[in-house]
Every structure is written in C-alpha cells, then in structure tokens.
Amino acid sequence: MLEIKNLKTSVNDKTILNGLNLNIKAGEVHAIMGPNGSGKSTLANILSGKQGYNVSGEINFKGEDLNKVSIEERAQKGIFLAFQYPLEIPGVNTNNFLKTSLNTIRKARGQKELDTLSFLNLVKKKSAELGIDEKFLSRQLNVGFSGGEKKKNEILQMKLLEPEFIVLDETDSGLDIDALRIVADGVNSSRTKSNAFLIITHYQRLLDYIKPDFVHVLSNGKITKTGNSSLGIELEKTGYANL
C-alpha cells in the first residue's frame, strides 16, 4: 500500500530524515519508535503533505507517487493523520467541520454526500462508541477540550472518514489509562484487511493494546532496526541508548 524509498528531508539545511525506507502492506500495523528528535513527527507530516520541507526520495501510495499530491488530495485518496497536537479552531463548529470533511471526501470517492440527518445519525453512533459526549459535537472544534478529548476527536474523525492508510502520531500522549483503552479499542475495531496503520510512539504502552505486526526503530533519520512486537517490549527495558 505504502512504499517509501530513500526518503530524505531537510529544513533550512538541517537534515531530518536521511534515507528512510519503509514498506507497508494492506492489513498491517507498523509501529515506529525512537528517541526525541529522531524524525518521527516529520515523517508523519511529510506523509500528510505538509509544506516547508525539502523532500527527496519516493513515497508511493497504492502505486501513485505522492510527492506531487496536495494535502487535501492525499486525505481524499485515503491518507489520514491523527495529530499529536490537534488544533483548536475557535468559531468552527465541530459538527459542521466533520460534515464538511466527510462530504468532501465522500464526493471525491464518488459517493453520495450525506444530508444533515444521516450525518447526525452516523456521527452519534460513532461518537457513542468512543464515549464522546454529544455536546462536544456542538462545541467549537477542540476549543477547551482536554488532551484526551482532543485525541478521541481525532479517532472519531478517523472512524468517520474510513481512510485506508492511517498515521497515529503519538496518539497515546496525554491520555489517561481509560482514555488510552478507548482510543486503542477504536483503532482495533477499525482494523481491516484493506487498511493499514503506522503508529508513532515513544512508549510500549500503546502497543500493549494495539498489537503491531512490525516495530521499527527510527534513529538519526533512518530505520535502524526492525522486529516484531517483542522489539517494543525489549526497548522499554533497555532504552534507545543501547541500540
């Protein structure tokens, strides 16, 4: 589904990713772990199409080179990034935002846009699964939401938009144990044979709930080690310094 070949990125002559290779197939869950500053969030941003980086190398999504594809087109094609720090957007009503986003993506996929009633029924069902109180949906987007509520809102968007390739950027940070379980359940119940996940995290604890097929260690802009789910447990004991 996603093939990254020799990806190099820099900002203001500072190299961040330095020849990263990664191959993710449909149905797989990959985790990327690594110390602070190793380039994990940069990788997430690059995949979403964020501007401001010098990028070389190849990113192919379902056989298409993503380098020339804009941010919104990537989303429309099925790439989703759950933000580490979801933005607060005053004045934008959460429900309106969700409906606009969903209908834009449905339209791009050639599906019929949902009317208000069908949308509200859908969003009610999905938010109930995540334990999100309905009143949050009529509030301004992420404004005054707690860290956990913001992360749940990201997962709600993921469940609504049904993307094929999902990047979770430190989704576990700022979550208490209960919220972590709810978020993990939300992810696990979204796993299918036709989608794939890339989970970026510092800690093993999220991987206790979402069992990855592969764990990669990102260090100095490259993947330096790849293993199965036991690699995460090992790292938790030994730390990154021993690699």
Binding site: K50, A75, G91, V92, S101, L161
Partner: protein
C-alpha cells in the same frame, strides 16, 4: 470639490427654509470632508466623491410606492422606505395604541448642533425618513424590519434622509435595518438617525445588507441613553462599495449599557469605516465595542473608537476591541483607539489586532480533505460569526447568520 446644491423643497415654513439655507451655507463653506480632518484621516471622502461622481445632485423626488420583496419565513413588522422616503408600514403583530409611526419632521428648536459638513448637508437637503415612538412599558412582540430600498435612476444623486427612534421608559424593540439596492447606480446615501432611550428601555438593532451595492453610504447615529437603558447595535454591512458609520453615544443615566459590534467582510475595491464615540457622563455604566473585519483584495477598512469618561462617571466599565483578518497583501486596515478619561476609578481598555489566517489551522483542515480555499472560507466565517453568535434572540440569530453567510460567500 465644488458642488452646487439647490434646496428644492416646497410647503415648509420660512423658519425651516431659513434653517435649511443656513445649513447649506455651512456645508458650502466646508465641502465634503477630506483627510485633513482627524475624524476622516482614513477616509478622504472629498477625493472619493471627486473620483466617482460628476454633477452630483440632491434627490428631491417624492417616490411612488412600489411593491418590494419582503423577508420570508420570518415573522416581523415592517416599514418600507424607498429612496429614503417612508412609503408603507405594517405593525400587525403589535398593539396599535402603543407606538407612533410618522414621516420624519424636524423640530428645529431642539436641534443638536454637531460639527460635521455631511450633517449640515443633510439638514439642508433632507427629504423624508421616519419617526417611531414606542409607548412606556410596551415591548414589541416581533422584530421591526426597516426595509431601506433604493430604486430607479439614482445615478449621480445624493439621497438625504433622517430617522428618529424614541423608546419611552421600560419599552423594548428589536429593529432590523435591511438595505437593498435595486438601482445598482452610483449614488450617495446620507442618513442621520437620532435615537433616544428613556429609563430602562432596550433597543437592539441589526444592520444588514441585502445585496451588493455601488452606493456610497454614510450614516450618523446620535444616541442618548438614560438610566438603566440598554442599547445594542450590530453592524453587518458587507457588500457596500463605500460605507462609513459614525455613532456618537451620550450615556446620560446611571447603569446604562451600550454595546456596538460589527462583522464585516470586505472584498474588491470596497471601503468601510466605523467610528464610535462613547461619552460616559454618569457613573456605573458599561460600554463595549467589538469590531471585526475581513479584508480580501484591494480593500480598505478602518475603525476609530473613542471612549470619553467624564470626571463624575466613576465605576465606568468600558472596553473596545478591533480585530482584522487580512487575506492578502493588497488590503489595508487602520485602527485608532482613543481613551480620554477624567475619572479615577474606572475600568477602560482597548485592543487592536490585525493578521492573516493561521496557516496551522489551514493545514489541519486540509488534512481532512478540505481545500485551501474552503478552509480559508471556514476560518473567515468562524472569525465573523463570533459576533452573530453573541445575539441572544435565537430567531434573530438564525436569521442574521443566514444573511451573514450570503454576505461572506457572495450574493
């Protein structure tokens, strides 16, 4: 610009004619305001008129009544003004004994003299307008919509009119002024509105623009607030080629409250300015102004806000904020806040910001499939809707929001 206006009004007393002539002389001496005047430093009206008009003439015709389109799905009373002249009214939701509606007649003995050449010109040439008085203890059951229609050939014309609104004690009114320019001509509308709120009266007024207009609008509001009265004015006048609204508010009774808020979206070659002066003359009063502008493509906006606090006006709580969102580099926004305070126990503050749309917010919305253009639209709307959101009457809020939506996304 040299301009020869003639007073072409019949059937008025010699005193009134004298008064008009005197005012015309005053205007002739000053001419249209230019940027040398402090209150017009951001808006050189004289130059603007020179560039846009030739042989400007006063509009003196008495207009025929014409059928006009009324707002649908919104229960309301209404009055219809055509080219400034009161033509029709309907107050079907109200007790007919509790209000008076008439054509405006000037009482020249009670005239407040204000140094302003446009008001002098209006005094000299005004032709029509309405006067509304609401009886004590009567609160309007439904909003009153003032349809301000501009029709027919107004090319190179200046329409001058005056309105008067008096709310006696404990009365209340929600007033929506809806401007519709069907003429699509190059004309000037010069309005003077006098508002008096007696004890504990409440006026909430909403100014909407029904369609784009090539008109050049100037409105001066003189507002007088007695004890415990509440005045709220919302200015949503997007779509006018030129607009300047001046509000001069005297807070003459204790515990009165004055709120002026504005949400305006300016586009290609448009120019709008709001100027407020709140004169706190008695203690324990509250005033609040929040002015929001979105500017896109070679347009110009300005806000001049002055808060004056007299020495006796202790415990005044006055706050003023201007926020501008510039969508490109070709537009300009100027703000000039001013505080003049002679009392020592007051809370007065002002703030002004202007900036562009937050790129991180655009990025976030784009990662959800929304195009950059649509994301900017959403953020712009969010910026302006904050003002509409503060409207307490749900019915009016919904109505205003629909109107604002059209003003932002085009008519």
């Amino acid at each position: 610009m040299k301009q020869d206006f003639a007073i072409d009004i019949n059937n008025i007393s010699s005193e009134k004619m004298e008064y008009r002539k005197k005012n015309l002389e005053l205007f002739n001496k000053e001419g249209f305001p230019n940027r040398r005047l402090e209150t017009w430093k951001f808006t050189d009206l004289n130059k603007i008129i020179e560039e846009n008009f030739e042989n400007l003439e006063a509009h003196n015709k008495s207009e025929e009544y014409q059928e006009v389109e009324l707002l649908k799905d919104f229960e309301h009373n209404y009055i219809i003004l055509i080219n400034g002249i009161l033509k029709s009214n309907n107050f079907k939701h109200e007790d007919q004994k509790k209000f008076k509606i008439n054509e405006y007649h000037e009482n020249i003995n009670n005239k407040i003299e204000i140094q302003n050449s446009l008001i002098s010109l209006n005094n000299a040439l005004f032709n029509g307008g309405y006067s509304l008085e609401v009886s004590s203890n009567y609160k309007f059951k439904k909003p009153l919509v003032v349809y301000n229609y501009f029709l027919n050939n107004l090319e190179n014309k200046i329409v001058n009119n005056k309105n008067m609104i008096i709310l006696n004690e404990n009365s209340g009114l929600d007033l929506i002024e809806s401007n519709s320019d069907i003429s699509k001509k190059n004309f000037i509308y010069n309005n003077y509105t006098n508002i008096k709120l007696d004890e504990n009266a409440s006026l909430k007024s909403y100014n909407l623009q029904g369609c784009k207009s090539n008109g050049f609008f100037y409105k001066f509001l003189k507002v007088c607030l007695a004890k415990m009265s509440n005045y709220e004015d919302y200015i949503f006048s997007s779509g006018l080629k030129f607009n300047k609204v001046e509000e001069d508010v005297d807070v003459i009774g204790e515990n009165a409250k004055c709120t002026i808020q504005s949400a305006i979206s300016l586009s290609l070659n448009e120019h709008q300015e709001i100027k407020t002066q709140i004169n706190h003359l008695k203690p324990n009063c509250v005033s609040y102004q929040k002015i929001k502008n979105v500017l896109n493509k070679n347009c110009k906006g300005a806000y001049q806000g002055k808060i004056f606090v007299k020495d006796v006006a202790q415990k005044t709580d006055a706050y003023q904020l201007s926020k501008a969102l510039l969508l490109d580099d070709s537009s300009e926004f100027n703000a000039k806040p001013e505080l003049e305070i002679y009392a020592d126990d007051v809370k007065c503050s002002h703030g002004s910001t202007s900036g562009s749309v937050n790129e991180d917010s655009i990025y976030y919305l784009m990662t959800r499939g929304i195009s950059r253009k649509k994301a900017i639209g959403l953020l712009t709307k969010a910026f302006l809707f904050e003002i509409a959101d503060s409207i307490q009457n749900e019915e009016i809020k919904v109505f205003v929001e629909k109107n604002l939506d059209r003003q932002i996304y085009g008519y």
